[in-house]
């Protein structure tokens, strides 16, 4: 599949993960999110930006636990749990948030 943005075609795999990570822009993230029926807001942006920062350092998405700790620190203790992350990204924080953040899909038994 592919995304169309400002007359440009952005290639993605069958599941909607972009294939060239360098072409990601916030506008594209908004478009992917819309495709996933997600309205981006400040909290979702914080998660997406965290994923991108972590990926830049480690070339992989963080463990869900690491993400939860970061959410806890930024958004408060009551939101620092997997359940809250699922309210932000109903298909799962690891896969859906990674897709919006333009990162590869976490693979394996996850």
């Amino acid at each position: 599949m592919a995304y169309e943005i400002d007359g440009n075609t952005i290639e993605a795999d069958e599941e909607g993960y972009i294939t060239d990570l360098s072409v990601w822009t916030p506008e594209l993230a908004g478009l992917i999110a819309k495709d996933e029926n997600i309205e981006m807001d400040d909290e979702r942006w914080e998660v997406v930006n965290f994923l991108r920062d972590y990926y830049e350092e480690y070339q992989i998405a963080p463990a869900v636990r690491v993400l939860i700790k970061a959410v806890k620190k930024t958004m408060g203790k009551e939101k620092g749990n997997n359940k809250y992350l699922y309210t932000l990204f109903p298909y799962g924080p690891a896969k859906q948030a990674c897709k919006i953040a333009g990162l590869p899909k976490p693979t394996g038994c996850v």
Partner: protein, 528 residues
Amino acid sequence: MVELAIDNKISRTSVEDPLAPPCMTPGAMAGSKPYMAAPEHNIKLGFPGELPDDWKEKAIARMGYLAETNRAFKVYLDTCMKCGACTDKCHYYMGSGDPKNMPVARQDLLRGVYRRYFTFAGKYFPKLVGAVDLTKEVLDDWYSYYHQCSECRRCAVFCPIGIDTAEITMAARDILDHVGIGQKYSNEIIGKVMDVGNNLGLNPKALKATMADLEEDIEDETGVAVRIPVDEKGADILLITPSADFFAEPHIDGLIGYAKVFHEAGVSWTVSSYASEAANFGMFIGSEENMAVLCKRIQKAAIELGVKRIIFGECGHAWRVAYNFLNTLGGPFDFLDQDYPIPQHILEFTWGELQKGTLNIDKSRNDEYRLTYHDSCNVARASRMGDEPGGQFEIPRNVLKAVTNNYFEMPEGTTKEQTLCCGGGGGLLTDDLMDIRKKGASPRMHALKQVEEDHGVTHMVAICAICKTQFAKMMPEFGFERDSILSVHQLVSNALIMEGQVDEDDDEDDDMDDVPAMSGAPATGGSL
């Protein structure tokens, strides 16, 4: 062979019978197909990138090779007498009603072609014996329905002559791979293990950072400096665990449990960044060659780290491969301490420590849970634990009962050797197969509903990374909380009071200095 004295009667309540036969719906799952692997993923594994012009000859030749070199496979194809004992035993048939998911019918997709080209009657009187020409349509049917089998072997338990459908599914996938039709999920992942060492693609730097982070968490929560060493030469034990244990929920809580048990047992251990994967998807695709490549990584890591023992974490098919094939495909392991099982399961280790009394357990710390145990299919029907027959059933239960007060069994006919697959095993744990995953999970979910109703069970426990992920996804679909699936070692971890342990005060603010802060700012653009 397992006796056929099967009693499927279960105490009835208002809950739907988990083993009820479905309403038959021909063709219901004909459209179910996983994404196909890209040419580069196939080539990396030694297969053609895509369907070659002479695919038919190649497929028949591969089938002939398998029938010649794998006696069991030939016997399975030759001997089915269509008694029907297996027909209603597959969770995918129970969930979907598609008659091609009756194990015998699914087998026959391959058996018909085998008869056509490899038996006298099939060569000359094909119509009389149900022999079928190999066509592209048949190949497509194989791709669809052999990815609606999780190789769980439940049907094989009920077959009076012991035909193992899993072997036939593996052979079918192997033949498909040999004509360039690979499954994206499995083949991409096997390639990733070859490149990075695990299914996730977790590189050594990220692995070390994640483990260091976990060590800090444990110390914050307990006041005890429990280590999770990575690549530590000279350690006694090499832990081989599914990479999901490094990444996913609830898996990672099980990893914390292993670390605490090792700590209290006073043994030195390490994980390896080179062999940072227990899961061996080579088995899913029926490829002995690829299975061997992944097994050999474990041997290499063990030699380089100079360990004396190898212990496997909670992972179903990893244990099936390790228990049956690690020595033959990954060995020899003559450099390890021969006084310990090679390999050993973490449950065997923990049960040993519990029996020795080295672990200080307070069961009441798990009193918030009312638990049942899901026997993971690969552990239950394709391996063993300990020295006694049935150890693979009893040891996990013994450990659970040693660390919790509220344990209940699911209905007879759904546990131990007759356990139901989670619905996501055998290379099916991929988003593009969500429909069949849900249908396959439904018998187990109904069995769970039964103990929820009868005994107030709140959580189910498993010892397989795939089961844990599959159930975390499926629980909400069947009216349970997502987090009602747990690791055995998470419960061990909860109940274990380590020497010097001081429980973190819940009201106290967490020490979060180590956590990278989120920017909070709107995104400014791509920088990758």
